[in-house]
Amino acid sequence: MVALIPVLPLLSFLIIGLNYKRINKNLTSWLACGTVFLSFVLSFMAFMQVKSSGVNIEIQLFEWIATQKFSVGFSFLIDPLSALMLLIVTGVSFLIHVYSIGYMSHDEGFNRFFSYMNLFVFSMLILVLGSNYLMMFIGWEGVGLCSYLLIGFWFKNTDYNNAAKKAFIMNRIGDLGFLLGMFLIYVTFGSLDFKTVFSLAASYPVGSTVLVSATLLLFIGAIGKSAQIPLFTWLPDAMAGPTPVSALIHAATMVTAGVYMIARSQAIYVLAPFTMNVIAIVGIVTALVAATIAIYQNDIKKVLAYSTVSQLGYMFVGLGVGAFTGAMFHLTTHAFFKALLFLAAGSVIHALGGEQDIRKMGGLRKYLPITFMVFLIATIAISGIPPFSGFFSKDEILVHAFAQNKLIWALGFFTSLLTAFYMFRLLFLTFNRTFRGTSEQQHHLHESPKVMTIPLIILAILSLIGGIIGIPEIMGGHHALQQFLNPVFNSTGETLELSHSTEWILIASTVAGAFIMIIFAWVRFYKKNIIPAPDTTPRSAIVQLFIKKWYVDEIYNVLITKPIYWLSGFFHKVLDVKIIDGMVNGFGNLAVWTGGKVRYMQTGNIGFYLSAMVLAVVAILMFMMI
C-alpha cells in the first residue's frame, strides 16, 4: 500500500510521457490529478495509521545494493516527520495539479507539462519516503531534474533556458556538498540508513569534528536546494517556469527539501552545535537580504520568489536555534500560503494575458474578487497576523530565536516587519485603486474558471486555519504538531525557558510591528497612490543596492563566470588553436613544404634523369665494393 504512494504518479508520468502526442487533454487531466489524489488518500491513511498506532511504517521493496561492506535497501520509512511531509506534498500537489488544468489549458505542451509534474511528485515522494541517505539523494536529484525541465518548460525562450541551466548548475554545487557529506557518513558509520547512522552517532561526543564536517557538508546541499545565501540567486530566476511550477516546486515542496533533510538528520545536527550556529546565521542573513530585495521588486512573481527565499531563511533560523518543530510548522503553513500566493498571482497573470509587472496592474479587486480574497488571506497569513496560520509558525520560530540569541531575534523581527510591508505593497499595487494597464487588457479581464478558483479557496481555508495544529501552550493550546513530531525530535526537548510574560511581549511586539507596517504600506500605496518609479530612475546608493539584488549576480559574474569564460577563451586560443590545431596543421604544412622543395628535382630533362640514374648506380656499386 505504502509503495503505491510514489508509484502511482510514476505510472501516470510513464503513461502520459510515452503517449504525449496521442493522448487527449481530458484524459491527461484525469490521469495526472487522479493518481496524485489517490496518493494523497493513501498518504492520509498512512498518516492516520502512524498517528493512531505511534509505530513507524518501514518497508523494504528490495535489496538495492548488496555487498559485504555496504548494503542499501530500496526502502521506505514513514514516521511522523515523513507522514507530515507526505500530506503536504501530495495534498498541495493535488490542488496545484487541478489548478494547472485551467492554467495550462491553452498551452500546446499540456501533456508534457503534466508528465513532468507527475515525475516531480514521484521524485519528491521518494525524497520524503526514503529510509536512507541514498534514497533521499535519488529523490533529491530527481526533483532537481524536474525543476530544470519545468523552469525551461517554454524552451523556445533563451532567457528561460538560461534560468533553467542556472538553477541546475547552482543545485549541482549544493548536491556536491550533499554527496560528500554522504560519503563521510558512510566512511564514519559504515551505513547510510537513517536509523543505524543516528544510533551510532549518539555515541560520539558533542561537537566532534567528523559530525561537524558531515553536518556542514549536508547543509551545503540544503543551501543549494533551499536557495540560501550564497546560492539563492537561482530561485528568483526560476520564476521563468509556468506559475503552477513556481507554486509547487519553488515555493511549497522542493525548496523545502533542505529543511526536511536537516530536520530528518536532527539526531546528528544536535550533536554539532557549530553547524547549528552556522545554519542560524545563514538563515537569518538570507531572510533579511531577501526581504530587502523584495521591497523593490516590481514583478509580481519576483516579489513572491524573494519572499520564499526569505521565509526559507526563517525555517533555517528555526532549525539553527533548535526549534525543529517550529521549522516544520513554518514549512507546513508556508506551503499553504505561499502556494496560494503563487496560484493567485498566476490567476492575475492569466487574467492579464501574461503581464507580470505590478506597475501595470491595480484595481483588480473589482474584476477578480475571489483571487483578491484569497490573496488577501495569504498576505495576512504571511505577515503574521493572528489567528492566521503564518502567525503561529513564525512566532514559534521567533520566540525560540529570542531564547537562544537576542540578535537573531532582532533581525528576524525586522525581517517580519519588512515581510508585512512588501506583501501589502504587492497587494495594494495589484488589487487596489485603478487599473493601469491597456484598455484592451481591461476589456479582457475575467475571473479564472472554477477549476482554478476552487484549489485557491481550499488553500485559503488551509492558510486561514492551518495554525490550529500548533497553538502554543500560553494560548491554551497543546501544540498538536509538537506532540505528533515528538517521537522524531524527542532528544531535543524544545522547551522554552522564557517566562510567559516575556513570550506575550514578544508576540505582541511582532503583531504590533506588522500592523504598523501594514498601515505604512496602506498610506504609501493606497492613500498616496504612489506607483514605483520606472527602472531607470536614479536612486540613492542603498536603494540601488536593494534593487540590484545586493549585486550578488554581478559578483558571481566577476568572480566565477568571467574567469571561467576567460579560462575557456584562453584554452581555446592557446591550447586548442595553437597547440593541438598547430600540431595537426603543422604535419600537413611539413608535407606540403617538403613536396615544394623536392619538386625541383623533377626537371623533366631526360638526360638529367639518366645521368642521375647512372651516377646513383655507380655510387651503389662503389659502396658495395668498399
Binding site: Q602, T603, G604, N605, I606, G607, L610, V614
Partner: protein, 99 residues
C-alpha cells in the same frame, strides 16, 4: 682465348652504350645505345657460359633478346607517335609532364 679479353670487350661496349645514352639527344640513337648495352651483357653471359661449361648463361641470353625485341617494338611505336606530334625525336622535348 682468356676470359679477360671477353670481359674487357663487353665492358668497352657497355660504356660506349652508356655514354651514347647520356650524351645523345636523338631518341633513335639512344635506343641503339641501349641495345648496345644489352648486347654487351649478352656477350658476357655467353662467354661465362662457355667458361663455366654451364648452359644457363646462354638461356639468359635468349631471354634478354626476347625482352629487347619487345622493348624495341614498344619503343619504336612511341617514337613514331612522338614524331607525329612533335615532328622531332629529340628526347629533351619530352618534358611536358613537368608543366
Amino acid at each position: 682465348m682468356p676470359i679477360n679479353n671477353y670481359i674487357v670487350l663487353s665492358s668497352l661496349l657497355f660504356v660506349i652504350g652508356l655514354v651514347g645514352v647520356l650524351v645523345k639527344r636523338n631518341a633513335l640513337v639512344v635506343f641503339m645505345s641501349i641495345e648496345l648495352m644489352l648486347n654487351s651483357v649478352n656477350l658476357l653471359f655467353a662467354a661465362f657460359s662457355v667458361y663455366h661449361n654451364n648452359a644457363s648463361g646462354q638461356i639468359m641470353v635468349i631471354f634478354i633478346m626476347v625482352v629487347a625485341a619487345a622493348e624495341v617494338a614498344a619503343g619504336l611505336a612511341i617514337l613514331v607517335l612522338t614524331y607525329r606530334t612533335n615532328h622531332s625525336i629529340d628526347i629533351n622535348l619530352l618534358n611536358t609532364l613537368k608543366h
